[in-house]
């Protein structure tokens, strides 16, 4: 509880997140069969499903069990997705091998067969000339109760040791803790986190304590750390979370990494593609035209 200057006593949120547990305990005691059914239906609605858009069939096994891979590259968030689209996917032919269908309060995509470019999505591709290279473009938010399911549907329950994972994502610069003020930082800038089995030198400096990462990037990296899969997360701290040319270009040092080196052919062409992507989005977001 906290007292305000106006003499009222308000319930302050507890940073240990314990109010939920007390509510859950109370709810558990009062829950009827109807409540349980509603909860079950909600859980079903929030299930993560992987399927092939071309055949409209679900994947019976995990994605990487069906498509064994040696390199798994995932972009999470619109800037990371734009980076892979412009610099990696424009070189070579990429075939779509799966799509994740999920629903939560932030990502309400129900019809994934006809996605418009502005909608959030999670699509998997492999390189036709080298099918063991799998890429995931994930611009939808995967909620905390869906992250473990997403991992199971993609990686499966048995660890895949002969692969290397690269994760690209962005976070707002105000999340970065430093002894200087965040206003004095020159963003965007890149930081890395790697698992114990990742033996290469990352393309930028490592993320210092006490900084941490959450959400899907953390879920993927945790999985790789626990199951001893070499993995690296490249995190771009930026002050512009919407699609932004400077933020996307901040990922460029990653092009020299072993995972991406062989996949990038034409950088000037990529820059042109990126500029076009930006212009398309700018027109869509300008409410005055």
């Amino acid at each position: 509880m906290a007292a305000t200057f106006f003499g009222e006593v308000v319930r302050a949120p507890c940073r240990a997140g314990t109010e939920d547990e007390e509510e859950e305990e109370e709810e558990g005691k009062r829950e009827t069969a109807e409540d349980r059914e509603v909860r079950r239906q909600l859980a079903r609605k929030r299930e993560v499903r992987l399927f092939r858009r071309q055949t409209k069939t679900s994947l019976e096994v995990s994605l990487l069990e069906k498509y064994p891979c040696s390199k798994f590259i995932i972009a999470i968030g619109n800037n990371a997705v734009a980076f892979l689209s412009s610099f990696v996917m424009n070189s070579g032919v990429w075939e779509e091998v799966g799509c994740a269908n999920l629903w939560n309060e932030w990502c309400r995509t129900t019809d994934t067969t006809h996605l418009s470019p502005a909608e959030a999505f999670c699509v998997f591709y492999h390189l036709k000339s080298s099918p063991s290279v799998v890429l995931c473009q994930c611009s939808c938010y995967v909620a905390e109760d869906q992250q473990y399911q997403w991992l199971e549907k993609v990686f499966g329950s048995c660890a895949r040791k002969n692969m290397q994972v690269t994760i690209l994502t962005c976070r707002h610069v105000t999340d970065y803790k430093t002894s200087e003020s965040t206003s004095s930082l020159h963003s965007p800038f890149l930081k890395a986190l790697k698992t114990q089995n990742f033996k290469e030198l990352p393309c930028c400096s490592l993320l210092e304590q006490p900084n941490i990462v959450h959400d899907l990037p953390a879920a993927v990296l945790s999985y790789c750390q626990v199951w001893r899969i070499p993995a690296v997360l490249y995190l771009c701290y930026t002050d512009v979370m919407k699609l932004d040319l400077i933020t996307v270009e901040a990922f460029k040092p990653v092009l020299s990494s072993r995972s991406l080196k062989g996949l990038v052919k034409n950088i000037p062409q990529s820059t042109e593609i990126l500029k076009k992507l930006m212009t398309t989005n700018e027109i869509q977001s300008n409410i005055y035209t």
Binding site: M1, A12, C14, R15, A16, G17, T18, D20, E21, E22, E24, E25, G28, R39, E144, D145, Q147, Y148, Q149, Y176, K177, T178, S179, E180, S181, T182, S183, S184, L193, K194, T195, Q196, L206, L207, E208, Q209, P210, N211, I212, V213, H214, D215, A218, A219, L221, S222, Q225, V226, W227, L233
Partner: protein, 264 residues
């Protein structure tokens, strides 16, 4: 599930298993950080679960450049074989409806590992105290029935206060009395589950308010130390006692980044 760091599964038979509850002020977790950091405990495995919100970061107990790059996740287990101590650290909150399944899975694993006893470090909202509690020490303990016989004598010699029962429904006058730990997170669930599964568990908690809870964490580890004697006892001077617990490097910037000079 427990996933070891190395090739073999460590043998925790006869170990004392310390763990925090994610509770008000995160006092249990801060206390665990102090214990793991001071004793330089070594990571032996992960408790990989879908019950906690995922998070990763570099080694929170780093002391030098060389050991700063080891990745840490949300639930890790550390050990100190010389003192037969194992410690679980939890670094994030529970996903909705997953706290009870977590308690069940964890306790089942602890029981199958043949640990001698479990000690839960926790806290409870100080504003929920009754008049008597306001006037007494802020520390409390709870024992499950199967551990009472072996530990009660020692506890009595320490003059510790047992957690009082309070009305189950506070508004009703003749309501039954039960153990309530408001703000204690999974503490009550762990305690109830241990009672029914005959697990030797001791809960140590402190009444706290949210804020800078480092002094509360120091208080709680000293309270634990009165019994377990992890560190040699020293004089009653609180400053001296604070100095002998090593604060981990990850406690930097606990209240955010530096301030912009233009603010002043």
């Amino acid at each position: 599930m427990f996933v070891p760091c190395g090739e073999s599964v460590p043998d925790l038979a006869g170990y004392t298993f310390l763990m925090p509850a994610v509770s008000v002020g995160n006092v249990g977790q801060l206390a665990m950080d102090l214990i793991i950091s001071t004793l330089n405990m070594c990571k032996i495995g992960y408790f990989y679960t879908d019950c906690l919100v995922p998070m990763v970061g570099n080694n929170p107990y780093a002391t030098a450049e060389e050991n700063s790059t080891e990745l840490s996740i949300n639930a890790e287990i550390y050990a100190l074989p010389s003192k037969k101590l194992a410690a679980l650290q939890l670094r994030s909150i529970f996903i909705k409806y997953k706290s009870k399944p977590f308690c069940e899975k964890l306790l089942s694993w602890v029981k199958s590992s043949n640990c001698a006893k479990v000690i839960v470090l926790s806290s409870s909202h100080s504003y929920h105290r009754n008049d008597l509690q306001l006037r007494s020490t802020p520390f409390r303990y709870l024992l499950t029935p199967c551990v009472q016989k072996s530990i009660q004598t020692k506890i009595t010699s320490l003059n510790w206060e047992e957690m009082e029962k309070s009305p189950c429904i506070p508004e009703i006058n003749d309501s039954e009395f039960c153990i309530r730990i408001p703000g204690g997170g999974i503490t009550k669930t762990l305690y109830d589950e241990s009672c029914s599964k005959e697990i030797a568990m001791v809960v140590l908690l402190k009444f706290v308010s949210e804020g800078d809870n480092i002094p509360d964490a120091l208080g709680l580890v000293e309270y634990l130390n009165e019994w377990l004697q992890i560190l040699k006892p020293c004089c009653d001077d609180p400053t001296a006692s604070a100095l002998r617990w090593k604060m981990p490097s990850s406690w930097r910037l606990l209240f955010g980044s530096g301030l912009p000079p233009a603010l002043f």
